[in-house]
Amino acid sequence: MGAQQRVFKAKINSTKSLRKIFKAMELIAASRIQKAIGRVKAASPYANALTRAVSAVATQSNVDHTLTTEPEEIRRAAVVVIGPDRGFAGAYSANVIREAEELIRLLTENGKDVHLYSVGRKAETYYTFRDRDLKKSWTGFSESPQAEHAREIGEVLLEDFHTAFEEDGVDEIYLVYTRFKSSVTQEPEYRRLIPLEVVDAEDAAETDQVPQSGGLPDRDKAKAHDEVFPLYEFEPGPAEVLDALLPRYIDSRILAALLNAAASEQAARQQAMKTATDNADELIKTYTRLANTARQAEITQEISEIVGGADSLAASGADD
């Protein structure tokens, strides 16, 4: 076998074994998407019930809560970037980081200080590699976040929120994550977590279209869409109920973001691996063709050598 043929054969073999890995990863991701989507769905009754309850308390009572009232001056914002632990997911991690960078740019333009928090190893390494300060990072659960993880993050964020600005505290908190829209579309987006904007039923219609003046357009409000809540009796009292509800509401929002990110990660990985498998197939095809051409060329050359040799032998024989 000629040298050229041997080179192609080696390339085909290595591409074939890579293809097997890509295919396996694609199948694994595909099977995990369903589970991740299921978890997003399973968590939604809790989130809906909480949203309803928080809206009800906020609309019916005039309790001012630190979590819902806009601070007079926002000097520092916390940005939580939710990324993946592992790569092999195409542009998934790059997209969410780009969204985060965009948000950070907007915040700094508004004269706000930014504190970074990260979830997932990829987000963490992106910032540590660039020597950017990370206040805290959580890793190891990007593919299967649990309620406890959300609670842990929520606790840290709330604590920093309750700390004064002078002591390194923050005045508002943003979440940057990838929203799972479908297996083919995932959208990176940011949302403000605290201060919460609980919109009254009457205001909901208005603020729906018009972005609030000042600050960033907030795409997320605990909307009480034209819904009239019954007159609840609060036990023990509206303030206490709100006190107990809000941290839970925040945890559930964080959990929802984590679950969405997990589903998006699997979907992105499946897509990326599908593309990789297709590319490997394409490569194998190209190399097989090249190997065939090389083999054919070799055979043709051998034949012409034999024919040429025979011809010259016959010519020299005729001379005798």
């Binding site: 978890r39 019930a49 609840y232 107990a244």
Partner: protein, 85 residues
């Protein structure tokens, strides 16, 4: 008339169905809910929630922290962690 009860935990739905009576423990003490109860939003102190279903079965669930809401005969028990006992 019966109550429409749902029990949900942070990451999943635990139980839902028709019931005659629900007893839960709030921070103020035990609360018993029958059909026609006034709307209430209360903090659940943790402990056992007893649900007497429409066919007189008793469902017991352990609920840790959270709240319960009652309105128009719909009872939502929302707990951080909950499981059927």
């Amino acid at each position: 008339m019966s109550l429409n009860v749902t029990v949900v935990a942070a990451d999943r739905s635990i139980w839902s169905g028709e019931a005659k009576r629900v007893v839960a423990r709030t921070t103020e003490g035990e609360i018993g809910i029958l059909s026609g109860h006034e709307p209430v939003l209360a903090i659940v102190a943790g402990g056992e929630v007893r649900i007497v279903t429409a066919d007189d079965q008793t469902v017991r669930a352990q609920a840790d922290g959270g709240f319960l809401s009652v309105e128009n005969d719909r009872v939502n028990i929302v707990a951080d962690q909950a499981e059927l006992v």
